[in-house]
């Protein structure tokens, strides 16, 4: 019996010839990520296990992203403690303010995640790592501390579900639209709890790395254990000169067993929006055209990448953000920020009236820059829209793609980006 890519990775990383869904395995971890507001606790827990040095100083990746730059003294003090503990443990890779990025972007962009391996992080969107053909998994600080000490984490081998994606991507349609479409189809944290989701097919082969990262990122919000896309030429080109180690191509066997297979043709997929409060309450943009909003936000580990900023710049070139809308862009990392600057996208966006903030998680989790207040209606390219997610419980959050956010920002009401020339 063949194995899926996730089964193969779990077998290889646990030193077995094969594994089956349901088995419990301890796997070798490629990289362990932790970040500012939980990192000190990770290190404290790690120390309490009786080890003095982490399993590999090059493979414990530390990132400041939720609290930077500190907006208040509480966060400033937490960051100071965090910096001290990273220094004490002599960690090689520390992405702090000035070299920062959202942890999941950093992990992939800086090559800490390698195809065919397992990496974990203490933030729920660690599923993003599947975009380069790795098992990426979100854990609590306990698992991270154990991995820091031992280089290992336990897993129950998940059942696999395949999404076979075909057809041609139409202008202005993005990975986010597919992600939200699947959310509506499968229901938020519903039928896919504990599963591994594998995206395959010609429309995945033709999808750029940014789109792949969006797709895998949001598998956690489908309730899945991980989402994965087998490495291919696009992956190899992306990791060229970046990967922090050697890696090999890996793919599911032809006779691998899937619990379910879903077919989706993207040719007819349109811009998709999740209505406030529930991620799976998704509709085609046409149903919401004309809906007023007052805040527009693009950023996060879901949609703060160069390709996302490029599409915004295309739409907003020589246009103006509507005067009733405050629009913010927060690039996902300093690397993304610099590249967007060099390509002229940021100039275009600033001319259009977009505020640009230094890379961080920003308002996505409601604890940093740009939070929503009472009565705000936010059109966001982020990943969650439950009440209170971005601040006030009396705010409404519509989730959609950067293309829809940009087009709508011009009109001051939800707008189909396909009304703009591609």
């Amino acid at each position: 019996m063949g194995m899926t890519i996730t089964e193969k990775i779990m077998a290889k990383q646990s030193g077995r010839d094969s594994v089956k869904p349901g088995e419990l395995v301890w796997v070798d971890i490629e990289s362990v990520m932790t970040m500012d507001y939980l990192g000190k606790t990770c290190f404290d827990k790690f120390k309490s296990l009786g080890k003095t040095e982490v399993f590999n100083k090059d493979k414990v990746i530390c990132v400041s992203d939720h609290l930077i730059p500190p907006p208040n003294q509480k966060f400033a003090n937490m960051l100071n403690e965090w910096r001290e503990v990273v220094k004490e443990n002599d960690i090689t890779h520390f992405y702090d303010l000035g070299r920062q990025g959202i942890a999941h972007q950093i992990m992939v962009e800086q090559g800490h995640v390698l195809p065919g391996t397992v990496s974990i992080g203490t933030d729920s969107h660690a599923n993003t790592y599947g975009a380069v053909g790795a098992v990426g998994n979100a854990v609590g600080v306990t698992d991270a501390a154990v991995a820091m000490a031992t280089g290992k984490a336990w897993f129950r081998v998940p059942d696999s579900v395949k999404f076979h994606i075909t057809g041609e991507w139409q202008p202005w349609i993005m990975g986010k639209d597919l992600s939200l479409h699947i959310m509506g189809m499968m229901h938020w944290n519903g039928h896919l709890i504990y599963k591994t989701l594998e995206y395959t097919g010609p429309a995945i082969a033709s999808l750029d790395m940014a789109g792949r990262m969006t797709l895998c990122n949001m598998t956690v919000d489908l309730g899945a254990k991980n989402g994965i896309i087998a490495p291919d030429k696009t992956t190899a080109a992306y990791l060229d000169g970046v990967a922090k180690g050697e890696w090999e191509m890996i793919a599911s066997d032809d006779d691998a067993k899937y619990e379910a297979v879903y077919e989706i043709d993207v040719t007819n997929l349109g811009p998709t929006v999740a209505k406030p409060d529930k991620l799976d309450d998704t509709v085609p943009v046409e149903e919401l055209v004309g809906t007023k909003f007052n805040k527009a936000f693009v950023g996060t580990c879901t949609n703060g990448r160069l390709e996302d900023i490029e599409i915004m710049a295309k739409i907003l070139k020589d246009k103006q953000v509507h005067r009733d809308v405050n629009m913010m862009l927060v690039p996902a990392s300093q690397t993304v920020y610099l590249e967007a600057l060099r390509k002229g996208y940021l100039e275009t966006l600033i001319m259009a009236g977009v505020a640009i903030d230094t890379p961080s998680c920003a308002a996505c989790a409601g604890i940093h820059t740009g939070v929503a207040g009472d009565g705000d209606i936010v059109l966001s390219a982020g990943n969650r829209n439950m009440k209170g997610r971005m601040g006030s419980k009396n705010a409404q959050i519509y989730l959609t793609s950067p293309a829809v956010v940009a087009a709508s920002a011009v009109k001051g009401e939800i707008t189909d980006p396909r009304t703009f020339a591609a």
């Binding site: 419990l24 509480k74 933030d123 729920s124 609590g140 698992d143 501390a145 000490a149 309730g223 899945a224």
Partner: protein, 174 residues
Amino acid sequence: MIKGKCWVADDYVMSYNMILQEYWTAPIDPEENSKWVMAGVDEAFNKENGFKDQGYTFIVAAHNFAGGGKSIEHVVAGLMGAGIKAVFADSFARLQFRNAINYGLPFVTCKDIVKGFETGDELSYDPATGAIENVTKGTEFNSVPAAPFVADVGAAGGLMNFVRDKIAKGEPIG
């Protein structure tokens, strides 16, 4: 055998509401986290020790308990600090399911269990056999006992103790 009264929840009790945003950056500590656990789930719990003072030992829930994302351990630590000894549900969100195993708090999958319970019912639960009895209503339910690894971690008092012990003895963990 564990005995006590239960609180019955609905679908989609979210981690976000179990531990509100303002407490995410607090230390992970059962006593501390239990003061405000469940504060966003029900208005009645939205005061200091609001949930804890109810004296529940069990939670009985429907689908996707502790969902909505968030891998923070304050959720499970808060429940334990509030005196919860086991949670029974149709399904659990995986991030907190994992944390519960790592903390040795039984999250027990038991289909349709919510239909046979009301808040305040007295329960008894035998972790060794998986038997759940609603003493108030005189009904019985079966659940699958914990898998060997989960039981071992639980017996050790959580993954930290489990791993610390292996490291101290120089034994491989897996």
